[in-house]
Symmetry: D2
């Protein structure tokens, strides 16, 4: 690997300059630890500007932490989470949800990474039967792990389905900014307005160093999130530096410009590779990820130039992620490399 | 609070300039996520220079996380940890150890925050009896929560006691740098040389933003620390920025100068207040914390000028922590304020 | 050991004839499994006769199971249980509470196995502080592990203390029958009338084979005990045979006569040994356990004739338990053996 | 329901007379609690006669308990269990495995309830990748939840596959007796001879009241099963009465005659209903369960006479279980009722 920009993951990128500046600016004299500081107060005020005054905000270190903490606030161990088979909480968190929630994940195969009321309905079995875990939370990812986005109406339909059954809706928004930019809406569109009860909002993939947030619209005294975050090892002592990262992202719509740029680079890439003979896209490109089917020999040759991950070995699907700092030249370079290798090995 | 330097906690301080510089320097182009990057490789090499080639290193976000991850690598849920009653893992982690290890903490009252083989022996009951948890790990804090330090021989004696019984020794080194500076030894003196099996090494209180490490001398395949860290939500995606913090601290002995300075300010403070009539020290000042007994009215008056915590309401003991950026003027100001309030309210 | 009656534990005894008869009578044709059978319906009706119509009853296999299931219905993992240092949940359940609740037990030394509001008050620290576990449940044992009994007023005082702070009261009644017989009250005196929220009622030590109950006065929908019992591996498939055991005990006051007999034998024993020169009782004999201080050589010699356990090696306290089938001859035999060995070795 | 014999479940049956006799015979004078008694010694000796001298035996209360305890002895929380989608541990234990092991169950759809090396191979992904749980145990049910049996060679093939990868094989033998009777082999054929590392052997469905066993061929010091059983709330105090149940079943091949009878009744039923026009069997009848496809109206009408469960509402599959006390008349009655209702509603 050259150290240059790759398409392996949006967390291979570094820190956006605005974020780094904000962290530097937050340094200086002593302030209270654990979030009782003015920088954190400012960050939380900004969250409320974006997500609404009913948003209860708890900053965390990483995405797995934010998901587990948020889910724990909604669940008891005999209650289950219904999620897509490919959900990050199911396949990429080393079993942290089962380990720390004690709860079962009920997984549902999906064609495009998105749950629907019909899919969830079929999975929500055994209600009231003590031999079965009790479905309590529907968890969706926005944007999804395969680069698609839920429309607001689709989220709303899932929320209505859940609430009608005394269930709750969780949203893993590790790439929420990309979805908001893609749909042309504000971040608050994915909160209580859409019926979401608790969400994770990811700063890291959006240009931060390590900053994630649990945003809860579930009653604070029931959620007990303060205690859950601390017990779950996600409370930073020098919190101001986590908060500063969000201040940077949530000011002057840096979050949106970073996400929109990444989305735009992904679209350029999707358009480019889909014109290469023999290359087909596996999913629509609705956020910052591009999924294409390549012959294995082509995949291997392209990876020698640009590191990226094979998404599914059995189908030959590969994943390319664009980030806030991906350039048009990066994209064009990848497209021409794919084209070259397809002509050689395809 | 004025925003100036206080004596509330060493985590009310900001980031040491060297650390911030290293984080800025680590920014730039894409590198692999989750620690497979050259910055992390450099950090781990530096750890090995300090702790020895047998050190197996896993960086984490915070002290609670590092302690829980380290302990999990040594324990099964029916096995217990013996620790001092005032240990951070017992009183300041919101029950994270019990929650995530499933293990009982067997707590031992101590006069000075330090365990001894005799104290541990008395607590290690029920061995082989299936009705009792099985003592497996002795956990000590270095420096302790009350500002004292174990001598190397004292650690060695605990390690020998533990190993003779098939048990292991864990060291919570959230302030390990302060102990090393105080004793005039290197960090490696607290590793396998002293019989320690797994330790947490704290960067945050030493001048980092959020950087802790689990250093294990326990066989890697048994410890499974890679998986435990990820499942325990302590694996950073943009790891290079955690690693960079440690590179700064572990280069040119920044860790030692930061710690030695904080220790020196604590000694100055201890000497100053102990000359104020009516003020007595509760514990010897062997690291960067000063513990003194004040009348409640004095405590309240001094807190209006300098924020700090009451350590034990029942005894009137207060805690003052010095940090890498505490100045002589800060110390002298606190001493004269204490003296003034003692003459007014004492 | 001779196979004769011993004083080792009330669970060294067999099954009371009424219980065995009831189990035999419950055999026969098919009935629904998991408690949806007429035998279980009858048992639950009997529980309500004894404990009141607001009693929500869940039968379980053993005492550890009943305690853990009951506590889980009252707690979230960051919430803690305050209990006596010698409580069964703390010292005799191999850490099952920490393991399965995820909660910390805050333990309190007691002179006689009994908590008081003052003792509990001193242990209920850190309320509202996210670094500390949050006290949620006070758990008491009735009768206690050292053979003493709480008066109804003492339980009521603890309940009032707890409820005034939004906390709950749990009662481990593995030997509740002995306490009721000792105090001359009904079982219901220890339920909601005394402010108890959830209790374990032990059948096994009272003459059953393996039958314990969780009796909850906590709102059923909040407690979710149906699901907790199943998930906690305490739901019997052929439930009728657990239920039948309780039908036997709760009919014609078999529970009381069994307990009263055991208490009476314990009193006879306490009176006998306390007249042996050099033998002193360690605790008042208020239920079916007798605790005396013996010289080690005497203990060892008496154990060769009658198996029993040393309660505390450091103080020389031994424990003798009477059961429903202990005879006057058994007691007199033990007393004379103690007297003989005291004159030889004392 | 009439109280007569049904086809709802083999745990709707009562206790076999031999088992009840053995429990009565075990009553009498005092014996040590928790399994240190001669009855338990005899039971364990019988287990070794059947399962081999390398069998390490731990009696438990119920099937969920035996499965969870056995699995816990083989796993750490980041390690996963691969099992059939319809496995009891996945669908009928209210999430107890995830809750208490902390581990993920990786589930595999199967045509007939049986795993194969090819099916397991496809599910064992992410080995060595810290983002994924690590496959550690393959768990199979014998006989399966749909009434099929693994041949010895099929088990052996799974064991070889697992062991070649450093993994282990667990067998849920809640109906192991039925499989042994069906295949005409001894119980030991499913132990270490077939490469099984840990199994649950079910007494309850075979005619016991409540008696299950964990039989481990995994090294005892690694398995730590003594402590795991106690901490998992599965250790009976009056153990002799659990042990006595197994003594009855394991003496004079009562286990085999009970199982063979139930299997024979199932075969009679399968043959009978498969001759009813319009009724088809969903799975081969290889043990004591019969699975047939019925029109919903027929199912409802037959259920009014004979209680039984619908296995899969979406496909109309129903389940009939035979037990040790099912009679030919019971079977013939059900067959003729099915025939009658098919002619009316089919």
């Amino acid at each position: 690997m050259t150290g240059a920009r790759t398409f392996a993951s949006d967390n291979w990128a570094g820190i956006h300059p605005s974020v780094l500046d904000a962290m530097v600016a937050a340094n200086g004299d002593h302030v209270p630890a654990y979030g009782a500081d003015p920088v954190t107060a400012r960050a939380i005020a900004l969250f409320k500007e974006h997500f609404g005054d009913d948003a209860d905000v708890y900053l965390a270190f990483n995405g797995t932490g934010a998901n587990v903490v948020g889910l724990e606030s909604m669940l008891r161990p005999f209650e289950a989470v219904i999620c897509a088979e490919g959900a990050h909480i199911n396949v990429d968190e080393c079993g942290a949800p089962e380990r720390f929630l004690g709860s079962k994940l009920i997984t549902v195969p999906t064609p495009d990474g998105k749950l629907t009321p019909a899919l969830v309905e079929a999975a929500a079995v055994g209600v009231g039967d003590e031999h079965h875990v009790q479905p309590r939370v529907v968890s969706i990812s926005q944007s999804t792990e395969v680069g698609t986005c839920y429309l607001i109406d689709e989220i709303d339909a899932l929320a209505s389905w859940a609430h009608a059954r005394g269930m709750l809706l969780h949203l893993d928004g590790a790439r929420l900014a990309n979805a908001a930019a893609s749909l042309g809406v504000g971040l608050g569109a994915f909160g209580s307005a859409a019926g979401v009860d608790v969400l994770s909002f990811g700063g890291t993939k959006n240009g931060a160093m390590a900053a994630e947030a649990v945003v809860s619209f579930f009653p604070a005294e029931e959620s007990s999130l303060r205690f859950i975050r601390k017990q779950s090892m996600q409370l930073a002592s020098k919190m101001r530096f986590v908060s500063a990262q969000f201040i940077a992202l949530l000011t002057d719509d840096v979050w949106r410009s970073n996400a929109a740029h990444a989305n735009s680079m992904a679209r350029r890439l999707a358009e480019g590779v889909s014109q290469v003979p023999g290359v087909t896209l596996a999913y629509p490109t609705e956020a910052n990820g591009v999924f294409a089917v390549l012959p294995p020999a082509v995949t291997a040759s392209v990876q020698e130039v640009y590191p990226f991950y094979v998404w599914d070995e059995s189908t030959g699907v590969v994943r390319w992620m664009a980030s806030f700092d991906t350039t048009e030249d990066d994209v064009d370079g990848l497209v021409s490399t794919v084209a070259e290798m397809m002509s050689l090995h395809g």
